[in-house]
Symmetry: C2
């Protein structure tokens, strides 16, 4: 049998990660114990939250230990199973990490429908990023028809779904993304009303131009400069789900945030969101977004990298905004 | 008849106001038109929000015009009335401003119960500051028994009520106030569990000491350094009603705010509050706080300044934290 290729955390990055922060090793393919399943990774999801796991700072889960395999959501094919719920050949959603083979407790796996056209979607629009978009937009954003929604990282895994769901809810939706190609994608393929290029435009002027009535909801994947500019244009009762902090994941010291006076003036709120709190809404999310997808009402793009060995460089690119759409590694 | 002494806005202050920003003038006592009432000011309320009205920055209401009478809540005695609802000698809550006599539309006045032991309380614990404490604590803070509540400007008009209501709700309540005398008042007279002197203590260390389990609710009257320190100790699901910004009312440019990463980690929220949105809760506020006061379950202190001429200096002191309790001017 083949050896297990693994990508491990070699050292904790300071600032932007480099490929030297990762170590590629090979070891024996593990054997599943009682109640466990051996999977061959088909797809590995790369997500910004992983940068936090590489650091020792306080967060909502413990960091990856040094020399441990990098964590990550995966779709795997069952090669051996010690649990009656999984048979050889099944596809399962799990948390196998950055490696070719993983042994996972059957309890932590979710079997995928063999008829699923795109199993990788379970890591994207029909998985954690999609549910993040759906729950943060609805539970905190509470969109109403006619309102103005701004979405940062609009061409990313979460942003592309959040903005389209805002359109479904009847909002005027303005994206913010890095570069002309992403902006074209956001407007022409995703159907946002406008998209601001954070790399070329003056954010203040562009927001004033595209949100003349102000901003009711800001779906914040980035914090930083975009949040600061948005704060100047909040409408009365505005809601800001704080979903990601991409602009500061690589920061060596925490930057200051925006002045909060506009929250008081507008009686607005900023609320932190983590999808794992919203497991009770998984069914309604899958029903709603699954149906919209099947009806062709949602566009969705993946950015696919070939081979696990390419994961470190792709992940570094993700933090720089190099991807367009949901970033995935095709591992087999 | 006596002349009307008025305190007008002479110029817009840059930074901390000075007495030269105000002008004391005398003019004829006005006559009430149809539906209007002439009042002699008994009590003038001085509140931090007035600093915002002196500036031209965007806020929730327009600024005071140059050379106009400074605005402010008042309790006045009716001297003449062109409205059947008010008789000479009645006491009324209104918005007469910094002047000895005012003419106000009867519709904007609220008659006070002649049996009211302390008419000035209508400007404090049974008025706008009390309702701010009650509504912001309950509507946004949502206190539960056993939770930890931190209140800044704890010896001020709003803070002293908010913290005591937190105690009634079963919270552990920690105040932050400026100086040993205020801290003593907050703990010994108001019954908070602890009070941190922002002038002498290290906020980080003091919060760690007094809130070992973290902070569930931060009733924020100040923003600035206290908010930043609190952000480091938020418990899961923490709520921060943003009620005042005393630390920055005199700022010549808006300071940056706290890094917002802790909101995401704790899935916490910061929400701006303005009491005028909560008029629907006035009755339940008055019933609840009125009853607690009557039962002797709430302590309450006023800081009384004699004579309208003293209002500018007292207001400047308010912004420096010189007052202990609700600041009022006895005008007659």
């Amino acid at each position: 049998m083949e050896r297990n290729l693994q990508i491990r955390l070699a050292r904790r990055p300071v600032g932007e990660p480099s490929v030297e922060d990762f170590r590629i090793v090979e070891e024996a393919v593990p054997s599943p114990g009682p109640g466990e399943v051996l999977l061959q990774t088909q797809w590995l999801s790369l997500d910004p939250y992983m940068r936090g796991r590489m650091s020792e700072l306080r967060s909502y889960v413990p960091p990856v230990a040094l020399d441990a395999v990098m964590v990550g959501g995966t779709v795997g094919k069952v090669l051996a199973s010690n649990d009656p719920r999984f048979a050889v050949g099944d596809l399962a959603l799990g948390y196998g990490g950055w490696q070719r083979y993983s042994v996972e407790p059957a309890d932590t796996l979710q079997k995928l429908d063999p008829a699923m056209a795109h199993p990788s979607y379970a890591l994207g629009i029909l998985g954690m990023p999609g549910q993040t978009a759906f729950c943060a937009l609805n539970d905190i954003g509470a969109p109403k028809a006619g309102e103005t929604l701004v979405v940062s990282a609009a061409a990313g895994a979460v942003g592309q779904v959040a903005g389209q769901l805002g359109k479904v809810a009847g909002c005027r939706v303005v994206g913010v993304a890095g570069g002309a190609e992403k902006c074209r994608y956001v407007v022409e393929e995703l159907g946002f009303d406008a998209c601001i290029d954070r790399k070329s435009a003056s954010l203040d002027e562009a927001l004033a131009h595209h949100c003349p009535e102000g901003i009711d909801i800001y779906f914040d994947n980035t914090a930083g400069a975009i949040l600061e500019a948005v704060m100047k244009r909040l409408r009365l009762g505005a809601r800001i789900p704080l979903v990601g902090l991409i602009e500061q994941y690589n920061a060596t010291q925490m930057p200051k945030g925006p002045n909060l006076a506009p929250l008081l003036v507008a009686r607005a709120k900023i609320e932190g969101f983590l999808v794992s709190d919203h497991a009770a809404h998984t069914r309604i999310f899958l029903n709603t977004v699954g149906a919209l997808l099947q009806q062709g009402k949602l566009a969705y793009r993946e950015d696919i990298v070939e081979g696990l060995e390419a994961a470190p460089q792709a992940f570094i690119g993700l933090l720089r905004g190099a991807n367009l759409g949901k970033l995935l590694v095709r591992a087999a």
